[in-house]
């Protein structure tokens, strides 16, 4: 197996690197030996009016761009745009997240203010400036990546990337003529003049990136990465110790058995004779008459209270009693139908009586003491009154 892989790479390696060139001319190139010569040559080529030419140097030669007549590089404006975008995006992010979408009170400080936002604003500005500069320079202005250009893999490229200085005049320049250009280069003292021809792959306009094998490999890698990521994020980081969110620990769950306690129950009950905070027992259990006589609704009739009552009524009461108290709730077929809340009996009940029924239960209706807090029960009473009034409205209840 390993031998096979090694052999594969050997074979791959030994394949002829030089692609056969077509006979279509891309450009004429010339090589010069010193920086002074390239300066003079670039200046002359530019002066003759050629537009599609370029100088190639192993390092940036000072003021060569002036000799070539290159315009002011656009990187600056691109970077500036990126920076301004970063600045406003960072501010917008902090303002929206911190004061609009989810305002959080932190030490009583304002949800958004400038001084504590400065560090992140600054970093955002720098970050986007950096991205804009690099992307703008490499991709927008220099049109990279361009791995398969006609000029790559030539002797010319080998020289100018190392120790020589070159000029190329492209064949599609308006003034191009092979003999004239060659003559010009010779008169400028070029040490080597070479025609560069297109590679077949340049003309078919197919970059190796789009070949099928490469794309299949990419898809394969993406699929494997997706599967690994899925398992990492959903299995490994959720269920494997120590990433189990503390689900697995030495503890006793409610309702489960425990041999530690005498009664083998995992749950503990309150000590006899004590009352847990907020769990005052109902004192009129089974005493409807006293409840009706002594209880009065402690809550004011206000919009807040009634809305609270509506919310709780819709959650706890509406499944049987229906949203409007008609006794036509969603559990109608599975559960005995309760009487309407708009009959004369309930209409004439006092608040305490309704409260007592909710708290104590009546006939098949169980007690809701454990599920609805005391205040919420009283709010429901108010809401039931609202429903009753709405169903039996008089002319004077209508807005004028």
């Amino acid at each position: 197996m390993i031998k096979k892989i090694v052999n594969f790479f050997r074979e791959y390696n030994s394949r002829n690197d030089e692609e056969r060139r077509t006979d279509r001319l891309y450009a004429v190139s010339a090589i010069f030996d010193t920086p002074n010569e390239i300066m003079a040559a670039a200046s002359e080529v530019s002066g003759r009016g050629y537009k599609k030419f370029d100088a190639y140097t192993p390092y940036p030669v000072h003021r060569l761009d002036q000799a070539m007549g290159i315009k002011y590089p656009l990187v600056g404006p691109i970077a500036f745009t990126g920076g301004i975008t970063g600045l406003f995006l960072a501010l917008l992010m902090m303002w929206w997240m911190g004061s609009k979408d989810y305002p959080n009170i932190i030490g009583g400080k304002p949800f958004f203010s400038l001084p504590p936002s400065i560090p992140i604003t600054f970093e955002g500005t720098i970050l986007l400036t950096g991205f804009a500069t690099v992307v703008g320079m490499l991709i927008l202005l220099n049109k990279l990546p361009k791995i398969n250009s006609p000029i790559s893999d030539t002797e010319f490229m080998k020289r100018v990337s190392s120790d020589k200085f070159g000029i190329v005049i492209a064949a599609d320049d308006r003034m191009f003529s092979e003999t004239q250009v060659t003559e010009l280069f010779r008169s400028l003292g070029a040490s080597r003049i070479e025609n560069i021809y297109y590679k077949p792959s340049n003309l078919t306009d197919k970059t190796p990136i789009f070949n099928r094998k490469f794309i299949m490999t990419l898809i394969g890698v993406a699929a494997i990465a997706a599967i690994v990521t899925y398992f990492t994020l959903n299995i490994v980081l959720y269920q494997v110790v120590p990433f189990d969110w503390m689900w697995k620990q030495a503890r006793i769950n409610a309702q489960s058995e425990s041999l530690f306690f005498a009664n083998k129950s995992g749950m503990r009950e309150p000590v006899a004779g004590t009352v847990a905070r907020g769990f005052m027992p109902y004192e009129y259990k089974g005493l409807p008459d006293s409840a009706v006589r002594l209880l009065a609704n402690p809550l004011p009739v206000s919009k807040n209270v009634i809305e609270k009552g509506q919310e709780k009524y819709n959650i706890y009461c509406s499944p049987c009693h229906g949203y409007f108290g008609d006794g036509d709730g969603r559990l109608n077929d599975q559960f005995p139908k309760p009487p309407s809340l708009h009959n004369s009996k309930v209409l004439n009940w006092k608040d305490g009586n309704i409260y007592h029924v909710i708290t104590n239960g009546q006939n098949v209706m169980p007690s809701y003491e454990g599920q609805i807090s005391r205040d919420d029960r009283w709010a429901i009473v108010h809401y039931v009154r609202v429903l009753q009034r709405a169903k039996n409205a008089k002319d004077q209840d209508l807005p004028k």
């Binding site: 390239i38 300066m39 100088a55 003021r63 761009d65 007549g69 911190g98 030490g107 690099v134 110790v241």
Partner: protein
């Protein structure tokens, strides 16, 4: 990267006037040959250290941060000390590549690439610590303002969050800076290699760079802009790291001198580390005529200057503690100098302030062995500086009843050792796979590399 040499006459940057081909040869050599025995030994050591760190990390992840020596009241210890130490190391790279570039210090060319790589690896090393010190590092995604099912966002008022933004921005921009510097060099390697696989990798990494002067023109402008934005960035990062401390109310942390003091310390420690590694690398890879004594001497001068800035900060902290009349503040500093951690304080002062004074002597500055000893002491001293700041401030705060001593565990030391292993493993891999001095930049500063004639521009007219 274009320089005007008319302002200053300097010593030649590359001694024994190499021609361009020779520069290619020397700088590409480590990437084109099999690793030497020395490299394997170094790699073995650092990889072992890395594995020890991995063991300590596994221990930490499995059992939790209770495996560390942290306690009440010393809730921050080796984790944060190591974080600040490594972030500090990471400051020299961008300083050398950006600030020295803007000041037209041409000598930076020989060491810039290497220092930038150190920045990247040091910030990566540093990044491990705040993440593991949260206790459940697999939830580190919540450090970023990402939408989540709770609907809540991060706290933008917290310096710890500013830190997340500062460090990640710093890492990204440093990576871009380093990356675009490497693009032309990968193109050089691409044109040199005959190995088809290597060639594919280098072609992709070089993005098909053609050395066209129209590209160089944009490239240089982009490099200048990146240097320009990296300069305030490098100053902001350690300032924001210092806010982690300065914005709290712990005596010994709550001081306004922290941002400049931290930045000076970071540059100091970064240069210390760059020198330490360069002295070895230039010897091992025969780069003595590219990374010259002249470079090391200049770095030593910077060490002397920043060392004294740090010394000034030590003194000024004391003065302010006394001048403020705040008894808690005064106690914190007296406790530092004469308390149970006095040994750490005096290690710090002697390594950072006293010993670097030897750099006043030219003999010391230009002696490699002495420089080596001194820069290692600087590394030690700067680690202790962070230890002193973090631990001595915490271990005795307002309430004497809650005072305690901090004793690191073997896991703490394992992680510290592992951080060095992590850093050096990456550094050694970098040395073998990429040119450790910028080929294009070094060619541009060789004598005779820039033209002596400047013909009148034609065409649409140039800039300036």
């Amino acid at each position: 990267m274009s320089y005007d040499a008319t302002y200053t006459r300097e010593l030649p940057l590359v001694t024994s006037r190499a021609d361009f081909k020779e520069i290619d040869q020397v700088l590409a050599h480590p990437t084109e040959t099999k690793p030497t025995k020395g490299w394997w030994i170094a790699f073995g050591i650092s990889f072992t250290a890395l594995m020890i760190g991995a063991l300590a990390l596994t221990n930490t992840l499995y059992f939790g941060i209770g495996e560390w020596g942290n306690n009440q009241p010393v809730g921050w210890a080796f984790d944060i000390v190591n974080f600040v130490f490594w972030i500090g190391i990471g400051h020299a790279g961008t300083l050398i590549s950006a600030i020295l570039f803007l000041f037209r210090q041409r000598w930076r060319t020989g060491i810039a690439r290497f220092a930038e790589a150190m920045t990247i690896f040091a910030v990566m090393t540093a990044g491990i610590f705040p993440i593991i010190h949260t206790g459940r590092p697999w939830l580190a995604g919540y450090l970023l303002p990402l939408p989540n099912q709770n609907g809540v966002w991060v706290n933008f008022l917290s310096p710890l969050l500013w830190d997340v933004f500062a460090v990640s921005t710093y890492f990204t921009v440093s990576l871009l800076f380093w990356g675009i510097g490497l693009v032309p060099d990968f193109a050089v390697l691409r044109n040199r290699t005959t190995n088809k696989i290597k060639k594919t990798i280098y072609s992709v990494a070089s993005l098909g760079w053609t050395f066209s002067n129209r590209n160089w023109s944009n490239y240089e402008r982009a490099y200048l802009i990146l240097a320009g934005i990296s300069t305030p960035l490098v100053l902001s990062v350690h300032s924001i790291v210092s806010f982690d401390f300065a914005v709290s109310i712990i005596p010994g942390w709550h001081t306004t001198i922290f941002p400049p003091y931290f930045v000076a310390g970071a540059i100091f420690s970064g240069f210390g580390m760059v020198s330490t590694v360069l002295i070895i690398v230039r010897k091992v890879f025969d780069l003595e005529h590219i990374i010259t004594i002249n470079h090391l001497e200049k770095m030593n001068k910077i060490l002397l200057a920043t060392g004294m800035m740090v010394g000034y900060a030590y003194g000024m902290e004391f003065f302010i503690a006394w001048y403020s009349g705040n008894t808690f503040e005064q106690f914190a500093f007296i406790n530092r100098v004469f308390g149970p951690y006095a040994w750490a304080y005096w290690t710090m002062v002697s390594c950072n302030v006293f010993f670097p004074q030897l750099f006043w002597f030219k003999k010391v500055r230009t002696s490699i062995p002495i420089t080596m000893v001194l820069v290692i002491l600087v590394n030690v001293g700067m680690w202790f500086e962070r230890f002193v700041i973090v631990v001595t401030s915490l271990h005795r705060d307002f309430l004497p009843s809650s005072w305690a001593m901090y004793i690191p565990t073997i896991t703490d030391f394992g992680l510290l050792l592992g951080s060095f292993g992590f850093f050096f493993t990456f550094l050694l891999l970098f040395i073998k796979t990429m040119p450790l001095v910028s080929i294009a930049e070094i060619k541009a500063v060789v004598e005779g590399a820039q033209p002596s004639i400047h013909p009148e521009p034609h065409g649409e007219g140039g800039h300036k």
